[in-house]
């Protein structure tokens, strides 16, 4: 297993579970399950035990490994020098389990659907571009940017609304961009996170080949998960493109004066998506956009930026729902945090977060107190003229 030589170095001391000020447990799966086995230290010890033959690859073991949201909070808070590798270690263990042929059924279904349909929704490939019908969007030819939407923005109802908002916004700002429509392929970030390296490699190579053939140089992604795959994984496979998350592009447009807003009079709190924040270090761009909107009162949750609490959708859990369910599911906890902070709107910059957190509101019966809007949606609403 990759990084196997690190496993025994975990002291299971538990710094990884906390926020920086130790006020809360910030590991979503530990927060929900509360057995130390579901904390990063527990995983480290159990992976080693599994490789040593001390425990079997059981349903419980699979639940423990696959309930990790790969949110990276442990990477932020572990006290040791190997902390940067923690998420990669958990992914490597999943790779071993995939090779072992024993993975949770929802993970198997997810991977099968990607294999067969090219997306996790078992939807026809030909409908991938349907969200853009009637939109001011061109197919990508030689525009400045390729706007990459990804599976959730293409197929999920909530995701599609965000994709549309973003497309309208970019078009209003006069950005030269195009989309791939039905030709778009899954970016593979979740495939990789769930441990299917071979399939990920196939997707990445296919994407890189297509981007090259189309002469793509700059990509802007809707989904921070795609942003992560393109930025972190593709260069190692020859995919050297300039990649932006859409909030980074919007924040540039705001500072250049290409986007200006008339107003949005609500109290808004921003939820940092793990793959934009902790994984990519981008905390400012989304806040800059919100701060440029007149009338918008931006507040912060106590757990924000490096200490943001994951929505629970990361690491494939958006699709597999191994971490979800119940009062202590991360999305419901996060909603309680946002309401406690006094927000009327929970702003997101990730369509997976949007869906997860909307479900959280329903679970908490707080529809009358708070709603989830993507930054693209807020910006479009607030646009001048």
């Amino acid at each position: 297993m990759r990084h196997e030589e690190i496993l025994h170095r975990c002291f299971r001391c538990g710094w990884c579970k906390f926020t920086s000020d130790y006020s809360e447990f910030n590991c979503p799966s530990y927060r929900k399950f509360r057995f130390d086995t579901f904390a990063p230290g527990g995983r480290m010890w159990l992976i080693r035990a599994w490789l040593n033959g001390d425990i079997p690859n059981s349903a419980r073991y699979q639940e423990i490994l696959y309930s990790c949201a790969t949110c990276g909070s442990c990477v932020e808070h572990c006290a040791f020098s190997f902390r940067d590798d923690l998420v990669e270690i958990f992914i490597s263990a999943r790779e071993e389990m995939v090779n072992d042929g024993r993975i949770p059924p929802p993970v198997r279904d997810f991977l099968k659907s990607i294999n067969v349909h090219g997306n996790p929704f078992k939807a026809p490939e030909g409908e991938r571009g349907a969200w853009a019908e009637g939109m001011p969007v061109e197919p990508y030819s030689d525009q400045d940017y390729l706007l990459y939407i990804g599976c959730v923005g293409s197929y999920d109802e909530r995701g599609k609304k965000i994709a549309k908002a973003l497309a309208r916004l970019l078009s209003r700002a006069g950005v030269s961009f195009g989309i791939l429509g039905d030709r778009e392929l899954c970016d593979g970030n979740e495939v990789r996170a769930l441990g299917e390296t071979g399939l990920f490699r196939f997707l990445a190579e296919s994407n890189i080949r297509m981007f090259r053939e189309l002469g793509v140089r700059k990509i802007v992604t809707l989904d921070p998960h795609a942003y992560n795959a393109f930025r972190r994984e593709y260069p190692g496979m020859g995919g050297d493109f300039e990649v932006l998350h859409y909030t980074q592009l919007l924040s540039m447009l705001v500072s250049q004066g290409s986007l200006s807003f008339s107003g949005f009079r609500e109290r808004v709190v921003f939820h940092d998506p793990c793959y934009l924040g902790r994984h990519s270090g981008e905390y400012e761009a989304p806040r800059e956009i919100l701060d440029s909107i007149p009338g918008l009162e931006r507040i912060e949750m106590r757990q924000s930026r490096e200490n943001a609490f994951c929505c629970g959708g990361g690491g494939g859990n958006f699709f597999t729902d191994i971490l979800g369910g119940g009062e202590e599911s991360p999305n419901r906890i996060r909603i309680r945090q946002a309401v406690a902070a006094g927000a009327q709107v929970l702003a997101v910059a990730c369509c997976q977060c949007a869906k997860m957190l909307e479900d959280g509101i329903k679970g908490e019966n707080l529809e009358d107190r708070i709603r989830v809007l993507d930054i693209a949606e807020i910006a479009l609403t607030a646009l001048k003229g």
């Binding site: 025994h8 006020s23 130390d36 086995t37 425990i55 419980r60 073991y61 040791f80």
Partner: protein
């Protein structure tokens, strides 16, 4: 067993009970060097009532119960030596009350030290408590239960001396209130003016009951903290140095460390002196007093205050201290363990030399840490060795070195702190027979069927 599991599920809910291989593996060991032993069940109670029901069940069935916080003693005190139920207390983590004026707090038995610190920082910035150097996950109840020490130990003694009351589920399932809270709504004293019954639980390592609430003294928190390090090249100067510094009554905490790596620390002994103040003047006055207390050592060239760079200063001022955990990775191996006797400060030179000797004999990476308890009334001296968890031979060498260190400490008049089962046995053997009998009487009366953390404090 199926029946017990079903009843545990009835008490705490199915999701908080496990008898799966994964939990039995993990909860059957700790990060130290004691041999593992699996529990039969792990249960996560959420309320006193649930703890009570579980203990009653265990009492009826004669099943062992092992209460556990973060499991960080390193000496195997939460390893269920005879199986049974491990009670992971960390769901009970509410901070129930802070009495700002009377300076105490009441917390549930699974509250981490880190969480109380965060809570006071946010809501009571003029209050603090004695934070140990163990990880933030360490629970307050476990820390006082093992007579832990912390940042205020030099001023106020063991952290267990700071307890102002306890709520304990007895081995029979009864709930006992200890201290003023047994008859008053106020948790200001664990004993006085009544007979101090907290002694029936503190130091007993969970063998006489399960602590479900702790009252803990809080102390004034000054606006500023500062740290200085006095270094000397011989351990022989340490007792006198400590005597002089403690005489000033100006310091928050005094720690001593010596270690061969990194090179900046080689061959010297470092006396880390913390002090606090509400104003520049107060801080400076204390610093000046401490410096002048050591003038004769400086004049004789026997020691001096080293320059502490901003990075090192930050790490030393950190509470809880993350850097204390990282000793586990010195050999890229994920472990360390220490024998930490409580012993007179005047024994520092012998302890230090013994540690050097053991490190050389067993070829181990080590460090010495000492924390001054009270005004130099004693110290905790840690014979601390780091080990590689993937290297059985190194682990055996550390075990052997620790055993020798313990033997030495006992012969030098020390008493083991958070002793391993083996060390407990040695203490009981060495103990005055009447004292031993008294312990036996207490244990038999409180836990007649021997279900509480069995294997520990077993008086033959």
């Amino acid at each position: 067993m199926e029946d017990i599991k079903r009843r545990l599920c009835d008490i705490v809910g199915e999701r908080f009970v496990s008898d799966r291989a994964e939990e039995l593996f993990f909860y059957g060991r700790d990060p130290g060097l004691m041999p593992p032993h699996s529990p039969d069940f792990v249960a996560l109670p959420g309320t006193v009532e649930e703890v009570r029901e579980i203990v009653k069940l265990a009492f009826r069935e004669g099943v062992p119960v092992v209460p556990m916080g973060a499991g960080m003693t390193l000496t195997g005190l939460c390893i269920p030596r005879k199986g049974g139920i491990v009670l992971d207390m960390k769901r009970m983590n509410r901070i129930l009350e802070v009495n700002d004026r009377a300076r105490y707090t009441i917390v549930e038995g699974g509250t981490p030290t880190g969480a109380l610190k965060a809570y006071l920082d946010a809501h009571h910035p003029r209050l603090r408590f004695s934070i140990p150097d163990s990880p933030a996950a360490t629970t307050i109840a476990a820390n006082v239960m093992i007579h832990g020490q912390g940042r205020l130990t030099q001023q106020y003694g063991f952290n267990s001396d700071m307890v102002t009351g306890l709520e304990v589920v007895l081995p029979t399932g009864d709930v006992a209130r200890i201290g003023s809270c047994s008859l008053s709504p106020d948790w200001f004293s664990k004993g006085a003016p009544l007979p101090d019954l907290s002694g029936l639980f503190l130091g007993w390592l969970g063998t006489t009951g399960v602590i479900t609430k702790v009252g803990l003294k809080l102390y004034p928190r000054k606006k500023m903290r500062e740290v200085e390090i006095f270094i000397t090249d011989s351990p022989d100067f340490i007792p006198d140095i400590i005597y002089e510094i403690t005489h000033t009554e100006m310091t928050e905490d005094i720690n001593i460390f010596a270690q061969p790596l990194p090179l900046i620390f080689k061959d010297n002994h470092h006396v880390v002196v913390y002090f606090t103040g509400d104003t520049d003047e107060e801080l400076e006055f204390k610093k000046k007093s401490v410096f002048h207390a050591l003038d004769r050592f400086i004049k004789n060239k026997d020691g001096g205050f080293m320059t502490v760079g901003p990075g090192m200063k930050q790490s030393l001022l950190d509470m809880p201290q993350r850097s204390a955990s990282t000793f586990a990775d010195v050999t890229k191996g994920g472990g360390f363990e220490y024998s930490g006797p409580i012993i007179l400060v005047e024994k520092y030179p012998q302890c230090s030399r013994k540690l050097d000797e053991l490190a050389e004999k067993y070829d181990l990476k080590y460090h010495a840490t000492a924390r001054i308890i009270g005004r130099g009334h004693a110290m905790m001296f840690a014979f601390s060795f780091t080990f590689n968890r993937a290297d059985e031979d190194m682990m055996d060498r550390v075990r052997a070195a620790l055993r020798e260190a313990s033997e030495f400490a006992l012969s030098a008049g020390g008493v083991f702190w958070k002793p391993t089962v083996d060390e407990q046995r040695r203490l009981l053997q060495a103990m005055d027979p009447v004292t031993r009998r008294l312990m036996q009487m207490i244990k038999r009366n409180l836990d007649p069927s021997g279900i509480m953390n069995p294997g520990n404090w077993e008086v033959p």
